[in-house]
Symmetry: C2
Subunit: 399 residues, 2 copies
Amino acid sequence: MSGSSNSPGPTAAERPLGFARLRDLPGHRLDRHGQPPLPLDCGVALGDLTIAYQTYGQLNADRSNAILVCHALTGDQFAAEQHPVTGKPGWWQRVIRSGGPLDLARYHIICANVLGGCMGTTGPTEVNPATGEVYGLRFPVITIRDMVRAQKLLIDHLGIDRLFAVIGGSMGAMQALQWAVDYPERVFAVVPIAGAARHSAQNIAFHEVGRQAIMADPEWCGGDYLRQGKRPERGLAVARMAAHITYLSEPALHRKFGRTLQNRAHVTYGFDADFQVESYLRHQGSSFVERFDANSYLYITRAMDYFDLAGDHGGVLANAFRGSVARFLLISFSSDWLFPTPDSREIVHALNAVAARVSFVEIETDAGHDAFLLDVPEFWRTLTGFLDGAAEQRGIVRP
Amino acid sequence: MSGSSNSPGPTAAERPLGFARLRDLPGHRLDRHGQPPLPLDCGVALGDLTIAYQTYGQLNADRSNAILVCHALTGDQFAAEQHPVTGKPGWWQRVIRSGGPLDLARYHIICANVLGGCMGTTGPTEVNPATGEVYGLRFPVITIRDMVRAQKLLIDHLGIDRLFAVIGGSMGAMQALQWAVDYPERVFAVVPIAGAARHSAQNIAFHEVGRQAIMADPEWCGGDYLRQGKRPERGLAVARMAAHITYLSEPALHRKFGRTLQNRAHVTYGFDADFQVESYLRHQGSSFVERFDANSYLYITRAMDYFDLAGDHGGVLANAFRGSVARFLLISFSSDWLFPTPDSREIVHALNAVAARVSFVEIETDAGHDAFLLDVPEFWRTLTGFLDGAAEQRGIVRP
């Protein structure tokens, strides 16, 4: 039976160790128990899929105002509300709000935890109903396309024929692009922010460092830590620290921290966090492990590494977009060195080559890749302006 | 008694576990046993200092042709010969050779393992003669200035009043600058390559990730691994992998690896090294641990983090160079994002402000920070040209 509910999810006995605190996560679930399994790129068909998602704002009568927001690597479905685990504001709460760029008075926002995630959607932390055991590394390796396939099931279930927009930053941008490629008739507008059509060698390298840090932690137990009542927290924290540097820019780090010492007048000639930037990084690592699962980190980074739209289309990126009827807005940030502007421009060129409707803006900021999560007025104005115009074309009434 | 010898170093009983293979390292030793201890920035005075060093080429009669080459974080004194541990060519063997930029027919090259290193110079892997135990974390935290103080003892011991040049890349550039600041009358020419006058927040952050990876490894044993017969190889490998990415450039990684798969036609949907760049990084990590010590990595990265010439001189970098009489050549590489060109330019401006003799060249290359180790013809020509001119002024005869 398939259905959406506000159920607290699997019972305590079904949930793995370590992530016990997540067992009572609030929110919607699409439970596809008994439905046909989801075929994945790796060849496996995934049965008993659960998708955890949140919605914000009202769906209008003709179901034309739905925006799917796709989260990034370590994001989740709690985009516009206090996070039930961390207690912090949602990662896009300042964007998704009444009067905001994703105006809750006008749009219906859907945000789902990605396949492979650890906030309720089926992933390596979940129990495989077929075996009664936690998946761990027995979970199949997934791709961005698989994530989007799962989202498509959710959108079908919600009775939405055509999304007004698919929007996402970073890995969310990859998903938005994949929607445009795989389901062109199901999206009216597509907004990939700080993204790319393929993961670069340098980005694969950074991901590999993170994975190696996790797998080097003896508490990882060959991926079987949940069954053994352990968690590779130190390895996961190191992975997060390395990744976090890539989300910022050198000028932003210099502006925020420089060489300022942490609550001390002089260096201590030791290995404590003498510098503020060290203390900040350590905090990033230790707070991350409280809300994220190490195996999920492996799977989701791998999905990003495998992403290569041109590779999927005979090496010609434009071919990926031949069926596109959507309007595109590409946004990049000038100081983003993880997904730099040329990555977005490459997509624009491919869209131009198939005469797609495409707008492109590089936002000047020193905030680096993380700019898509921050208050960057020009970014918000660009997003608002594009959505206003598209909404008018789509006949979505202004509130 | 102080003396230089080709002795094989401490006996097996004196050498720590794990690094047993290094006990028979060839080369010169300056053993300062019984001499006054070396005062360090942290306030400790270090007794019984040993400095392991190599020399290449002949010292001329008036001892005017000596060049001190300062190695980088993971380099060592075996700059221009087959490495006794790895069997590979020396890290600057293509630069230090007859007819090369550091012409062995003309110059006498000295290269010493830095204080805190693990190739024979006193550092955390060595036995503290006062206690008979391996230093480990009981070794005092050192600075770049301390490294240069130790080198100065060596140069005194060798009877060289004035070095013709001090040359180094990366951390070697920091040492070259420190020589110019602390012993201005002892250096005729100074060549800091791909360096900076202070370690940036981003660079401290990357070092901190590496240190956390090492300290997260249970085999690190709170720094006491050598006494316990263990080695934190996995943590050290992760530290190396993260650092190695910063030594390259995104274009170089793209050119060398792109998204090319490693000995396979298709991705495997797993966590093996599907991509060449992953395989390459893993190799960098695993080969590094065979030649480097984890605690040395902590100490030397810390010394770099603490480096801040302006901070040492009232916040005004120019003040550091007020006593300078040397000729300077600054070299940066256009694609180096670890020590980018503006870092070198800042030094040039400070030197200009005190009317120092300074030349500056930014070399166009996509090779990133590691360019100083590679065959980059314009770099070699620049180095050769500067040294030729300086040697003429110094009266060093052309071979």
